[in-house]
């Protein structure tokens, strides 16, 4: 997105469904429940939706399946699949489609029942031919190798990684929507079952069910809806690889580029951001993205997340819903970064509501640190 698109679109509804365990429901059921929740939030009906932005892990044409299930016939559709970042990416295409008049009401939606259906992370993709013979466990082996390299180059420790999980849990403990709300200490994380060295099961995101949805309209009519509009000030993507073996530098992600362009489009910098919502599939993600988005220098992320800095009451609120580590992770978490950022700005966050949030950042990650998408959201005051 460029500066010409700054503030041209707004989120006027958010919704979710099936957090935790959605017994007896299919992924499309959860998707549809999420859509209804978001449209209800916006005071709109399914029949108002003429732009659909959707992907799921279920089959090869999930956007078409979703439209069919919902009983709508969208005149604009985007089912671009970049993994968990897809839904942050749709903020860009939805803004473009709305601004060009290709649709008037954009629905971004996602649903999954991976926990009750299989109990593990569901993927629709084939293992890469030059990696599969070695049996890496996806996606954790990829992230474990990124963490190991970061530790090697910068002296990052398992304790640093654990601090990310502990902070996420502290936010989740105040969020009634979060799946894991029990106490969690650094020692608990370090002593948990090792899954892929150096990551224990507590360094890994949850495996839950859940869906989310976002309703967007052109900014000019955004104030006609029940909830305060949340404007898309900037959004940008960059993709660097698909397979982890093709990642050039295991300690630097394309969030550097996506972040810089999103900030430029929004006309703000990292120091202006009041709430940071990052796709924390693994504890190393939070450290990498804080570095790459400019909240701290490369290599300093480990120390940065210590001493409660990103926990409730800390200087930089990060993953204020508890994140994928403790709130919800149905396979592709990206949409929830946007929903939580929007709710913090609107003032109706489900857990700890921060005071007077005008600027928040949502960052989506897809694949194995492959696709990075950053969005800057703002209140009416930021226009």
């Amino acid at each position: 997105m460029t500066t010409e698109l700054r503030g041209k679109s707004a989120i006027v509804g958010t919704g979710h469904a099936g957090f935790g365990e959605a017994h007896g429901l299919t992924a499309y059921d959860v998707m549809a429940q999420s859509a209804l929740a978001a449209l209800g939030d916006a005071g709109l009906k399914l029949s108002d939706v003429d732009g659909l932005f959707c992907t799921m892990m279920e089959d090869s044409m999930p956007a078409l399946m979703a439209a069919e299930y919902l009983g709508i016939q969208p005149r604009f559709i985007d089912g671009t699949m970049t993994g968990g970042s897809s839904f942050v990416n749709y903020l860009t295409s939805a803004t473009m489609a709305l601004e060009a008049g290709l649709c008037d009401v954009a629905l971004i939606v996602y649903g999954s029942n991976q926990r009750t259906a299989s109990g593990r992370l569901v993927t629709a993709s084939r293992p890469p031919a030059y990696e599969a013979p070695y049996n890496p466990r996806y996606p954790i082996s990829a992230y474990a190798m990124a963490a190991a390299r970061h530790m090697h180059e910068y002296g990052t420790t398992r304790e640093n990684l654990a601090d990310v999980a502990v902070a996420a849990r502290a936010w989740a403990q105040a969020n009634p929507e979060a799946f894991e709300r029990g106490p969690l200490s650094r020692e608990d994380v370090l002593g948990a079952r090792m899954v892929g060295d150096p990551l224990t099961v507590r360094d890994c995101c949850l495996v839950t069910d859940g869906g989310g949805a976002i309703v967007m309209v052109r900014a000019e009519r955004a104030r006609d809806f029940p909830k305060a509009p949340v404007y898309v000030l900037g959004s940008a993507a960059e993709s660097s690889h698909r397979q982890i073996s093709q990642m050039k530098d295991f300690t630097v992600t394309a969030a550097r580029e996506s972040g810089a362009r999103a900030f430029a489009a929004a006309g703000v910098s990292s120091s202006d951001i009041q709430a940071v919502e990052l796709y924390d599939a693994f504890t190393i993600n939070t450290i990498l993205f804080l570095e790459d988005l400019g909240f701290c220098a490369k290599g300093e992320g480990g120390a940065f997340v210590g001493d409660g800095r990103i926990a409730p009451g800390g200087a930089l609120p990060v993953n204020t819903n508890g994140g994928g580590l403790s709130c919800v992770h149905p396979g592709m978490y990206g949409i929830f970064t946007v929903i939580e950022a929007a709710r913090q700005i609107r003032g109706d966050a489900p857990g700890i509501q921060l005071n007077d949030i005008d600027l928040a950042l949502a960052h989506g990650n897809g694949g194995v640190l492959s696709s990075q998408v950053t969005a800057i959201l703002g209140s009416q005051n930021t226009l």
Partner: protein, 125 residues
């Protein structure tokens, strides 16, 4: 070089004969991996193949934890070859947790999932 048409076939056929070959761009001279019909660096399409040195270093590594009754823990790593390309593999001959970053390793053609595959062992000396 084995008689094959596609880059994947050339690589796999060489492996089947116990050889590790790498694609190299005639235009810019850089090696790449995985094999493909163009150079990902300069986008040239003239590709030649040469025998890999087999010398590499572990760039990063992890241990996949697995229950003993299912075969136990095993190593997954990224090896950077002397030629400048990186590939996923595993280091054999030592405990999976003893594989360390920067360790010098040597390639050999072994077997993974019932098919010939590039594996590594710690270099001697």
């Amino acid at each position: 070089m084995p008689d094959a048409t596609g880059p994947d076939q050339i690589f796999q056929n060489a492996l089947a004969m116990g050889e590790i070959v790498l694609p190299r761009c005639d235009d810019c001279g850089a090696y790449h991996f995985f094999p493909r019909i163009l150079c990902p660096h300069c986008h040239g399409t003239a590709i030649s193949w040469s025998q890999a040195s087999g010398k590499g270093r572990v760039h990063t590594t992890t241990v996949v934890r697995r229950k003993p009754e299912r075969g136990g823990d095993y190593n997954i790593c990224m090896v950077e070859l002397e030629e400048g390309v990186r590939m996923m593999s595993r280091v054999e001959g030592i405990a999976p947790g003893d594989v360390t970053i920067d360790m010098a390793v040597t390639a050999f053609v072994g077997e993974a999932e019932g098919a010939p595959a590039v594996l590594f062992k710690p270099s001697e000396g």
